[in-house]
């Protein structure tokens, strides 16, 4: 069974969580062009790598952010949702910066 470490609930089976897609920043719909908007609505970064993702612990309804390597399916770090507002470090460099974070967990 894969375990995901939730910042609120601690280590829980991954079946208790829902995946919410990559963390992405919306362009301002009032000022952006049609191309920018369709790029935001549809296009995705499909290549593997370390990505920030939204996850939800379904039982408690708690949304949080996971930095996960999608090639190895290994969690590098987890963050409470307000980290998005404060600004997340670039995913590529975050691996070393947050490897020792107390909320970091590894899917195994």
């Amino acid at each position: 069974m894969k375990i995901l470490v939730c910042p609120l609930n601690g280590p829980r089976p991954v079946s208790e969580f829902a995946y919410g897609g990559e963390v992405r920043r919306s362009p301002d719909p009032d000022t952006c062009s049609d191309e920018e908007w369709s790029d935001y609505v549809f296009n995705r970064s499909g290549s593997p790598g370390a990505k920030y993702e939204w996850w939800c612990h379904i039982a408690s309804g708690f949304w949080f952010v996971v930095l996960r390597d999608t090639l190895r399916d290994a969690v590098i770090a987890t963050f409470a949702a307000d980290a998005v507002r404060r600004g997340l470090p670039p995913a590529g460099t975050a691996e070393s910066a947050h490897a020792a974070s107390p909320t970091s967990g590894k899917a195994s």
Binding site: M1, S15, D39, V41, F42, N43, G46, E53, T70, R72
Partner: protein, 413 residues
């Protein structure tokens, strides 16, 4: 031991022709380079050589022929789609399938079984009627049928599905079939090889050179090639190739798993799909049950299968067929499905001149192998999208003109 076999075994020259020619090195340039020697890539190479006379073609494969999703799918062939674009396209594919074995001089074990998409709710029945009407309008044999018809066609099924998902009816698609998937790749590969196409296995593409918006060459682990036309047919690896030419698409990659049981005596003739129970199953000529389910719930880019999948699929199988309780699962595996938001592929020309895409095949690519090869070879040869693939164009997302095919996905993903 027959004398001929003994002589063959002792000979160093291998007098018997092999399936493919092995080429020791790449040439300096090709008219067309196809990335990916799966069913789609090899089919495109085959039709380029056979129908368009373009034989100076290299098919590059980083692993081995048909080792990706061509060899990992559940081999179901059907055309009971929902949108006119989808129905016309897949129906052409079913027609091509039916005489492919003769074309190849190879037994594909193409076996027409009939295909039931079970409906467990009123809303599912409504979708089945909708699909049946669209299908009939385009001359495809599909029928919305009632529960009694299902019971006659599949006498062993538990019509209550364990009591919690009673079967109300189904969409019955008579031409639904299965085929031997490896032979499809080999047949197309051998046909292309005999017409002069070079297949290079264990040759990974490391870069695509673009100058002034046009493709000029491909870099590989075995050297560089000059070419003005590249066809990308690499399923779950598509985003990695697109990064090389700087194109963005909606494609996202989730694993799709499948499993197969030990062989049992023949008892299941048709192909059964249940969207509500997330199951599709058929019985092979060898007696194994080939079973698939929905996509894994989150993005992973490796083909490692999971126990969760086996548990949930087995439990849903037992809802329909409780007597399978003692049957063992022999193997399970995963493939990388390149999904799109509208459940239709992305095919044809791209903003990079000379770069053609055959991708977004998600969970529905095997059945389209012949027609995709045929239409992509036409597109590569002429530089213009084939009329059958206009609904699958690269720029449809930027134009907000999606081809909504989700209602016809085999299971609710």
């Amino acid at each position: 031991m027959p004398y001929r076999l003994l002589r063959f075994g002792l000979s160093h020259k291998h007098p018997e022709p092999r399936m493919f020619t092995r080429h020791d090195s790449l040439r300096a340039g090709y008219d067309v380079v196809i990335i990916g020697a799966g069913g789609h890539g090899l089919a495109a190479a085959y039709y380029l050589a056979r129908d368009h006379g373009i034989r100076n073609v290299a098919v590059l494969e980083k692993g081995y022929i048909g080792g990706g999703n061509t060899g990992r799918n559940t081999t179901i062939i059907r055309s009971n789609y929902l949108t006119p674009e989808g129905v016309r396209f897949y129906d052409e594919s079913v027609r091509l399938w039916q005489d492919l074995g003769t074309d190849f001089d190879l037994n594909l074990f193409y076996s027409t079984r009939g295909h039931y998409t079970l409906a467990h709710t009123d809303s599912a029945m409504r979708t089945m009627r909708w699909r049946a009407e669209v299908n009939k309008h385009y001359g495809v044999r599909s029928e919305a049928v009632d529960a009694a018809f299902v019971k006659r066609g599949i006498p062993n099924i538990d019509m209550s599905c364990g009591g919690h998902a009673p079967i109300l009816g189904a969409l019955f698609h008579e031409p639904g079939a299965i085929a031997r998937h490896d032979a499809v790749a080999w047949g197309y590969g051998r046909g292309a090889d005999r017409r002069g196409v070079e297949i290079h296995q264990q040759t990974e593409v490391t870069g695509i050179r673009v100058q002034g918006g046009r493709v000029v060459g491909v870099d590989t682990t075995r050297g560089s090639i000059a070419t003005s036309k590249v066809l990308c047919a690499v399923a779950g690896f598509t985003p990695r190739i697109l990064d090389m030419v700087g194109l963005r698409t909606p494609i996202y990659v989730h694993p799709l798993q499948a499993m197969v049981s030990e062989p049992v005596k023949p008892w299941l003739d048709p192909i059964i799909v249940s969207g509500s129970l997330h199951v599709y199953v058929s019985q092979t000529a060898r007696g194994e049950l080939v079973m698939g389910a929905s996509l894994d719930p989150y993005e992973v880019q490796t083909t490692r299968p999971t126990l969760d999948f086996v548990e949930s699929l087995a439990s849903h199988m037992l809802d329909m067929f409780p007597f399978l309780g003692e049957v063992k699962v022999n193997r399970q595996w995963a493939g990388l499905a390149d999904m799109t938001p509208d459940f239709a592929p992305i095919m044809g020309t791209t903003p990079v001149e000379g770069f053609y895409l055959d991708a977004g095949w998600g969970t529905w690519g095997f059945k389209a192998t012949p027609v995709s090869g045929k239409t992509m070879s036409h597109t590569v040869a002429t530089g213009r999208n084939h009329p059958l693939i206009e609904g699958f164009a690269f720029d449809r997302f930027a134009r907000y003109r999606l081809t909504g095919e989700k209602g016809a996905a085999s299971v609710g993903h």
